[in-house]
Symmetry: C2
């Protein structure tokens, strides 16, 4: 499927009333450290604390009225789970969330806080998928996949579009890559709204499937050996072709580099980002020379992190 410019514009209008227009922040000291001029699109300050609110809302609003009342469903232990629960609450429809039994209590509480109905399962992909299939068979709910869904990808594209509206002539735009929903959305937004901007992905070394997929030309499986817990997923058959065709490059970074970049953003910018959101800034710092004197956008994807855990990362 070819995603059209118009579809992004329409998605933006569709979700406008339900999501924040997040601020674009800059920091002199971060620019000095980086040797370039960085514009941070703060999706950590988005509803549910992550860009996921955009795609979930867009997808939910695209379900025909007749089906919508039966609810929406997904399997996720992360930010997408809360975003789906929130979309259900806003639309007054059931939201069914399949979560692994070992999901952190704070994530479960987040989903429950939005009135989402949790179905626990064994912590394997297979268990998650069969449990979700069961729930859908019983309820008639519509699945909204976290990233391998065009409406979700188009919803995520609106973050980059807002950045392009506020900051012109970006040389680069960096987005993290997990399953590729945000990255592919960012790529199509750049294609239509700022074609001169090169889009670069940041990825943890311990889950570098996108990097390897770009090299091999086919979807490689992800490992999960990183603190960036939002980026453990493998690319999907809808996201990979867009990434393959459009991404400039994928830069991988170590967990130590992620923590150090994360700390810099906390300290210098006074905002809280989760490890997955620090991957892009870590990538830029790792290859400073490439960005020297340039104008770069960074999408800070989320801010959902346990404070004690994060502060302990800093004091290690």
């Amino acid at each position: 499927m070819e995603i059209s410019k118009q579809s992004i514009i329409e998605a933006h209008e569709r979700i406008n009333a339900y999501v924040h227009r997040t601020p674009v922040l800059t920091s002199e000291s971060i620019n000095t450290i980086s040797g370039c001029s960085i514009f941070f699109k703060c999706e950590n300050l988005q509803k549910v604390g992550a860009f996921k609110a955009r795609g979930a809302m867009n997808a939910a609003l695209q379900i025909p009225e007749s089906d919508r009342s039966k609810g929406i469903a997904t399997h996720s232990s992360g930010n997408h789970a809360q975003a789906i629960a929130r979309a259900g609450k806003i639309l007054g429809i059931p939201a069914y969330i399949v979560m692994p039994s070992n999901a952190p209590q704070i994530k479960k509480d987040g989903v429950k806080g939005y009135g989402g109905q949790i179905f626990e399962c064994e912590p394997t992909l297979q268990a998650r998928e069969t449990t979700l299939a069961d729930v859908i068979a019983k309820t008639g709910a519509t699945e909204i996949h976290p990233f391998n869904n065009y409406h979700v990808m188009i919803g995520q594209a609106t973050a980059a579009r807002e950045l392009f509206e506020e900051v012109s002539e970006l040389d680069y735009l960096l987005a993290p890559v997990g399953g590729g929903g945000l990255l592919s959305g960012t790529l199509i937004a750049a294609k239509y709204f700022s074609p001169q901007t090169k889009v670069i992905a940041g990825e943890p070394e311990g889950a570098d499937d996108a990097y390897r997929s770009m090299q091999s030309g086919k979807i490689e499986l992800s490992q999960s050996n990183t603190i960036a817990d939002g980026l453990l997923t493998t690319l999907g058959d809808k996201t990979f072709p867009i990434i393959k065709e459009n991404v400039e490059r994928v830069i991988t970074v170590s967990d130590a580099e992620i923590v150090s970049a994360m700390r810099l953003i906390w300290e210098r910018m006074k905002i809280i980002i989760e490890p997955s959101a620090a991957v892009t800034f870590a990538a830029l710092l790792k290859d400073k020379a490439s960005f020297q004197g340039k104008k770069a956008g960074i999408i800070l994807s989320g801010g959902n992190v346990d404070l004690e855990k994060a502060l302990k990362l800093f004091t290690k």
Copy 2:
């Protein structure tokens, strides 16, 4: 001295190129917890991490050219010190900062990072004042007091003005009170730009001199028995009259209430605020009934806090 509406408008234009127009953020979950609708003016995301950048810049720009080249000077161990150092750097003039010898290294580094010249002294008010007088006698620099200075107060007033430009019909606006620079600036901004808005001060119980001064009708001395280290100062003879005449009330809060409010803002809003900045939200939470269903602004004054120290506060 009567501060005019025009003087605030002019200050705003004067400092515009040198400070951030900080975002105004809202949070559904914070609103649910509070029972009212809160608009946070995020001066923690301001240059130097605090509103102090506004007043310092306005005051420095008001010094006649002939004197300006001799530099600017102040005694401060906090955010004002960095703001003065930064103003000096921007204007290409010396900035002399008298700091107590026990000031945290991080604060000294901040001042040095902006090229400020530090003069250490004993940690008493008298030592600070005599050292500053010496520096001024030797250099001919102009003193910029942290709060007891009309140009500083007018500069701080621009934060509230921006909030009023973006959010109309606020029933309340809360600002913290230490020496009273931000509070008096906020009061005069409300008077001219949103007269229906009642301004309320938040103050730590362990430094409740403003509360006591309002009761006695004269300036009472501050104690320093609180973690809100930006609010330890006593009101000045220029700030107190404005506060006395215009403030609706002063709400005092305990350190436990400050930490709890601070944590809520970190967790729910994904932004970092220092204890002094949490005092206002703590005050609102303490007297929820008064704000029920209302529209309230809160000026989050700063975000300069040592991360390790913050972790200890949260895990106590």
